[in-house]
Symmetry: C2
Subunit: 212 residues, 2 copies
């Protein structure tokens, strides 16, 4: 329960950090094919793909949900994961659109390879989750047989998404900071490094709660 | 058991990939304060901190070790983890030495922050592991009480180390490829992106084996 409060707090602080990054240090938010459109990418990832996915994973463990029916819990878990997926997709549309407008190649980086793979596998997890655990006709033996795989792949995807975000932060700091450079540790570099630490702590807390 | 063979194979292929990267695409290996000294950094990380740590984690699960005594198993687990730690320390000496010789600032990046944190926590894990599970005087109740934390922090550190390696690969590809750039996907970029994928698959397999 301490871990739960800590996770929520760290999650909210991460969201404040990513907003301050794009609004105060960078070009703000817009949908204009420019850098302000790119900025939707980290914002939607942190709010949606990291924070909402993290909450979705621990939702079965929250004390005040123990009184809800199991079906209601499943709808909340599936709904949060679906919302996280939608955020992730829009965030990727933002980068692709920005890249095409600025004539930057697509899908060249390890970040983009792993990121796209994570989103595709996440979609598969979502479809299999609905098919196995929400549709009433699925036999209970199947549900039980697939549960260890569902939990393993869910936690691996969550961890992978945080790793991909850390690579994205690294790339953006190198590309975005020119004078002074990332190497010279301007305030933005320190601030965003701290955002990276917060995301790791958030991930560690969610994994702790989910494996107790 | 299929997962076990797959993990070992992917691990060995990763080692071949990192060696081919530094020997064929880059400046080779040397201890001269130059780029060839930096190259020890990824090589020792992949061989030591990733491969040996991964094997150390699953060593209790290997079929041919079921006939060994528990104490012997502990020595193998602790010895492999100690070797991995030594490799990690030497690999960091290589970068610091290279940075100082080339007048590049130290510890500016999120990669270096998370990397150094991981090595320090790994050292703590090692000391606590010896103190709790190797020294005969530790009461059995303590051993049992700390085991869930030992397993959680061990798996989190392993995962974190892979994430740090992916950030390091990203940085090196951006800094090292100038003409053609990383964005233009020269053969080295594709080759090293594949190395990144292999490390993720290796990590996923080790985590699968360790949580069965
Ligand atoms: C963890 C979830 C994330 C996913 C799934 C993801 C996915 C992607 C994908 C698929 C691309 C390629 C777009 C293209 O080729 O046109 C991309 C590009 C990019 N992303 Fe992310 N991203 C994530 C998080 C982040 C974060 C938090 C940042 C921080 C700013 C970031 C920074 C970048 C940058 C700078 C690029 C352009 C360079 C490149 O293509 O590698 N990403 N991302
Ligand atoms: C990409 C989307 C999804 C991810 C990442 C995901 C991830 C997870 C994780 C990590 C757990 C373990 C939670 C814990 O042990 O506390 C879990 C449990 C579960 N998930 Fe999902 N899930 C997803 C989609 C779904 C969907 C669509 C359903 C359908 C309702 C579903 C049904 C369940 C059920 C029934 C459990 C077991 C709860 C319990 O009794 O402990 N999941 N999920
Ligand atoms: C996962 C284990 C790793 C750890 C613990 C680690 C640790 C570190 C540390 C502490 C530094 C800072 C050195 C200094 O400031 O003088 C550093 C720098 C660096 N590392 Fe790693 N590293 C790891 C993996 C990798 C890998 C696989 C690569 C791939 C080539 C890499 C590439 C770099 C680069 C390019 C630098 C210099 C830029 C910077 O300081 O961020 N690292 N690493
Ligand atoms: C940084 C170093 C270490 C790491 C990363 C680490 C990690 C792990 C992990 C992940 C497990 C779970 C393995 C599984 O479930 O298959 C484990 C189990 C264990 N570790 Fe460590 N460990 C470290 C050092 C040590 C040391 C020095 C000892 C002292 C002997 C030790 C003793 C044990 C024991 C007794 C188990 C339980 C084995 C069992 O019966 O399942 N560990 N360790
Ligand atoms: O539908 C369900 O499937 C799992 C379980 O039956 C599988 O182990 C679970 O907790 C449900 O509510």
């Amino acid at each position: 329960l301490v871990a739960l409060c800590a996770a929520t707090t760290v999650g909210f602080v991460s969201i404040i950090f990513v907003l301050r990054w794009v609004l105060y240090f960078k070009e703000g938010l817009a949908w204009d094919g420019g850098l302000a459109e790119f900025n939707w990418h980290p914002v939607l990832i942190v709010i949606g793909f990291i924070f909402l996915q993290g909450i979705a994973i621990i939702v079965y463990r929250l004390p005040w949900t123990w009184q809800c029916s199991k079906l209601m819990m499943k709808f909340i878990h599936a709904g949060l994961n679906l919302t996280a997926f939608v955020f992730a997709v829009i965030s990727m549309v933002a980068v692709f659109d920005f890249h095409n407008a600025a004539n930057i190649p697509n899908m060249y980086s390890l970040h983009s390879w792993l990121g796209l793979t994570a989103v595709i596998l996440y979609c598969l997890q979502l479809v299999l989750g609905v098919g196995l655990y929400l549709i009433p006709i699925t036999p209970v033996s199947w549900r039980a047989a697939f549960m260890p795989i569902h939990v393993y792949s869910g936690l691996l995807l969550f961890t992978g998404v945080i790793a991909v975000a850390l690579m994205g932060i690294t790339e953006k700091l190198i590309f975005g900071l020119k004078d002074p450079k990332y190497k010279d540790s301007p305030p933005e570099a320190i601030f965003v490094n701290v955002l990276g630490l917060l995301l790791v702590i958030f991930g560690g807390l969610i994994l702790w709660i989910a494996t107790r």
